[in-house]
């Protein structure tokens, strides 16, 4: 069973200028969006639980670059970044966070429960681990229908201890289902570090007894993510079955907006921020390769701040859902039986 005990791999800089700038833009959009969401939460415009993706941007950005039309994505409640990476309009995402009619779920789902049929984004799930069998089921449907589409099921290091994850692994491997399990190991599940919750802390090895290939990836390096992702997606697409990618990443903020994060030292966060930030890292590469100047990148940032501001404005101007929406969407109408 080939599992590679590898941590960070130095990214090859064979990526094109266009691709590097695209990644930069995509990650920065997530970062600025999440910062704004945090701000709106602080102002009481977003309520309930709100889990920010800041620090983990390279994971979804790199993985999304490996997908083609018809491939599906599913994740947990820390989902804003995944939706933006899937190409969803920031306005619709932000308006869902504020619970307005312009939100992707008409304001009925909220931060943790968002979906898009159009972009094949299947949520947005509030129950830790539940998305893993669901993502496996999407792969089952892909195989059943005979196409070569692949599903990506994202979940956290904490979710990796839920039993249904292993029930899914077994079926996916038994039936060679085209699913890539992306474990976003940001090192904490709420206040619990991986070592305090997991007997085997190398999560990419969790598939060994199911004969699933696994690999650890530097999740703070978008190019490393993309390289590993391409391999895994190709493997699943070719009919060989599931694949596990353990993304070593980090969340900068508290678990949700109300987490004081006393379980880790400020220096730990600062160290990752200064030495491993995915956006700063890519920025350095872009400038070093002469693809853009500091000023040109600053302009991109300005442009993205504008997009995010528009999204925030929209999310505050969009009216609350109509009262009649309370009763809609509970069941579908039965047609033509």
């Amino acid at each position: 069973m080939a599992t590679k005990p590898k941590g960070a791999k130095k990214a090859p800089s064979k990526a094109s200028k266009a691709e590097l700038l695209e990644f930069y833009r995509a990650m920065l959009l997530i970062r600025r969006f999440e910062e704004k969401a945090g701000q709106l939460y602080g102002m009481g415009k977003i309520a309930g639980f709100c889990h920010l993706y800041i620090g983990q941007e390279a994971v979804v950005t790199g993985m999304q670059a490996c997908l083609k039309d018809g491939d599906q994505v599913i994740t947990g409640y820390r989902d804003h970044g995944h939706m933006l990476a899937c190409g969803l309009d920031p306005k619709g995402v932000m308006a869902e966070l504020t619970g307005r009619s312009g939100g992707l779920s008409k304001g009925k789902g909220g931060s943790m429960h968002m979906f898009s049929r159009e972009k094949n984004f299947f949520g947005g799930h509030g129950i830790v681990g539940a998305q893993v069998p669901l993502g496996t089921g999407l792969a089952f449907a892909n195989k059943y229908k005979g196409g070569d589409n692949v599903s990506l099921a994202y979940f956290g290091d904490g979710a990796a201890n839920q039993g249904q994850v292993y029930e899914s692994f077994n079926m996916a491997s038994l039936w060679d289902l085209p699913v890539v399990y992306v474990i976003e190991n940001n090192q904490y599940a709420m206040g619990t570090s991986v070592a305090r919750a997991s007997a085997e802390v190398e999560l990419y090895k969790r598939g060994i007894s199911f004969e699933i290939e696994g690999e650890a990836v530097d999740g703070m390096d978008v190019l490393a993510v993309k390289e590993a992702g391409e391999k895994a997606v190709k493997y699943a697409r070719s009919g060989k079955g599931p694949y596990i990618l353990e993304m070593k990443t980090y969340r900068y903020r508290g678990h949700s907006m109300s987490d004081p994060a006393k379980y880790r030292k400020r220096e730990e966060v600062d160290d990752i921020r200064t030495h491993h930030d995915p956006i700063e890292g890519l920025k350095g590469q872009i400038i070093e390769a002469g693809h853009a100047t500091e000023d040109e990148l600053k302009n991109i940032d300005k442009e993205i701040k504008g997009i995010v501001k528009d999204a925030a404005d929209f999310s505050l101007e969009s009216p609350e859902p109509d009262a009649s929406e309370l009763w809609t969407d509970v069941l579908r109408e039965v047609e033509g039986v």
């Binding site: 910062e35 704004k36 945090g38 701000q39 939460y41 602080g42 102002m43 009481g44 309520a47 309930g48 639980f49 619970g99 307005r100 779920s105 008409k106 304001g107 009925k108 789902g109 909220g110 931060s111 943790m112 429960h113 799930h125 509030g126 129950i127 830790v128 681990g129 904490g158 979710a159 201890n161 839920q162 039993g163 599940a189 709420m190 206040g191 619990t192 305090r196 919750a197 997991s198 900068y252 903020r253 508290g254 907006m257 109300s258 004081p260 994060a261 006393k262 379980y263 400020r266 921020r273 609350e320 859902p321 009262a323 929406e325 309370l326 009763w327 509970v330």
Partner: protein
């Protein structure tokens, strides 16, 4: 352009906080992500991160200021190239003077107490026959009452232990297990991985093995992962083994809607567990009952599902100063006497029913309020006795109506006290949809005081439909 830095809301229930410390001073350069201040919320001390970058031009609320309202301007940031001396706050929001022992930010009219700091209505407290006369009381939050109950039982019985997600080092996701780790150590206060089905089953097995587990679910929404072990293993084994093997175990945690957390995190499971023979199900309202009933649940030789309410954790009630305040399971409490209509509820709905009774009194309707406290066994005798007096019934639950607790109570009353009813009973409940996130829809969906008042007026034929 200058940017106002506002007092952030850092929990779903925070309305004001203490600005405990500034970590930057006027004139400091700030990058987004920098920690600029520390504030104390209703639950914890939190760091405030800068979102925008620039120079901290003015601090408007001095450190140490208490009662700073969410969204008050606490400082002003000058952006690149701006003269820090010139900036003024843009919003004419409530900025407190920057002196160190500053008064709290201009006290506006106190907002309706809500959520975590829900006020206990000042209803005439009826003496509980189980509490000896002359007993003194101490105001205690429901959160601390639950904690004290566990601590007392753990001191008393070495086989009692607590297990669940974040119960030990994090001190509980909602701080209900605060300081238990410090007192009892990691052997008896056990942090689990996120594996509800596994640790609930493990708890049942440990109970078979002679221990008395308290299994905390971070919320009961996550106990759905574990419901098979609760019902098939915990509830049925005594029966299936012909009485040889039971289990003494408590499954506890917050139940019901919290604040804007959406459909998957907001459900009332009272009727779900109430359906199952072999379980006892408790859903207390006030702190004294929470304490007395949790202690009883821990000592009970049966599996007990103990349903708490997050939005009551921060509410204080008088708790008797007794060495061993323990209450019988299965007894409802008459919280307020009345003659015209009986309002029956459990958990948070009892508070609403008491408020409704106050309003109804002003309208000349005398309501009797019954706190069920226990869902299974259900004290229908107390309800029927009340209905025999008032002849009218309103049931109040946070969950859905269909197959709900209200349906069960109505069926009992109709079968045992049919001739005493002067009007068909009414049920107050959540709307028959998954709980929506949007503020307006959530408010429409959840039952409240107004719904109870309306239902009471209806069964009293004050409002004809």
């Amino acid at each position: 352009m200058s940017v106002d830095i506002l007092m952030p809301a850092l929990s779903p229930t925070m309305e004001e906080g203490t600005l405990s410390k500034w970590l930057k001073k006027e004139g400091d350069k700030i990058a987004s992500g920098d920690i600029i201040a520390e504030i104390e919320t209703d639950k914890a001390t939190m760091e405030v991160e800068a979102v925008d970058e620039g120079v901290l031009a003015k601090i408007l609320v001095a450190e140490g200021t208490e009662g700073v309202k969410v969204n008050a301007v606490i400082a002003v940031l000058a952006e690149d190239g701006e003269d820090a001396g010139d900036v003024k706050p843009k919003s004419n929001g409530a900025a407190a003077p920057a002196k160190s022992d500053a008064e709290p930010v201009a006290k506006e009219e106190k907002p309706e107490p809500k959520a975590d700091a829900e006020a206990a209505p000042a209803a005439p407290v009826l003496s509980d026959p189980s509490i000896p006369e002359g007993t003194s009381f101490t105001d205690t939050t429901v959160r601390d009452a639950l904690r004290d109950a566990m601590a007392e039982e753990m001191r008393r019985d070495e086989t009692v232990f607590v297990m669940g997600e974040e119960v030990a080092e994090y001190q509980g996701a909602y701080k209900v297990t605060r300081e238990l780790l410090q007192e009892f150590g990691a052997r008896r206060v056990v942090d689990t991985p996120i594996t509800e089905h596994g640790f609930a089953g493990l708890g049942v097995g440990a109970a078979f093995g002679g221990l008395k587990p308290i299994v905390e679910f971070m919320t009961f929404n996550f106990a759905m992962q574990a419901i098979d072990q609760i019902i098939n293993s915990a509830a049925k084994t005594l029966y299936m083994s012909g009485g040889q093997m039971g289990c003494s175990i408590v499954f506890r945690g917050p139940n019901g809607a919290a604040s804007r957390v959406g459909a998957q995190h907001s459900q009332d499971y009272a009727s779900w567990y109430g359906h199952v023979p072999g379980l006892k199900v408790i859903a207390p309202y006030d702190a004294a009952d929470a304490k007395g009933l949790l202690k009883a649940a821990i000592r009970d030789p049966n599996p007990v599902v103990f349903l708490e309410h997050e939005l009551l954790y921060g509410t204080s009630f008088p708790v008797p100063d007794l060495d061993d305040h323990i209450l019988p399971i299965g007894k409802a409490a008459v919280k307020r006497t009345g003659t015209d209509v009986t309002l029956v509820g459990y958990s948070r709905m009892v508070g609403f029913a008491l408020q409704a009774a106050d309003e109804l009194a002003e309208q000349g309707i005398s309501a009797e309020v019954i706190d069920l406290r226990s869902i299974r066994p259900l004290d229908t005798a107390t309800v029927i006795e009340s209905v025999k007096k008032t002849n009218r019934l309103v049931t109040c639950e946070e969950g859905w109506r269909f197959m709900g607790i209200g349906a069960e109570i109505c069926a009992s009353v109709v079968s045992d006290a049919f001739d005493y009813l002067d009007a068909p009973p009414a049920r107050v409940h959540q709307k028959d949809v998954p709980l929506p996130y949007a503020a307006n829809l959530e408010a429409m969906s959840l039952p409240g005081v107004a719904d109870i008042v309306a239902a009471a007026r209806k069964v009293c034929y004050v409002d004809q439909e």
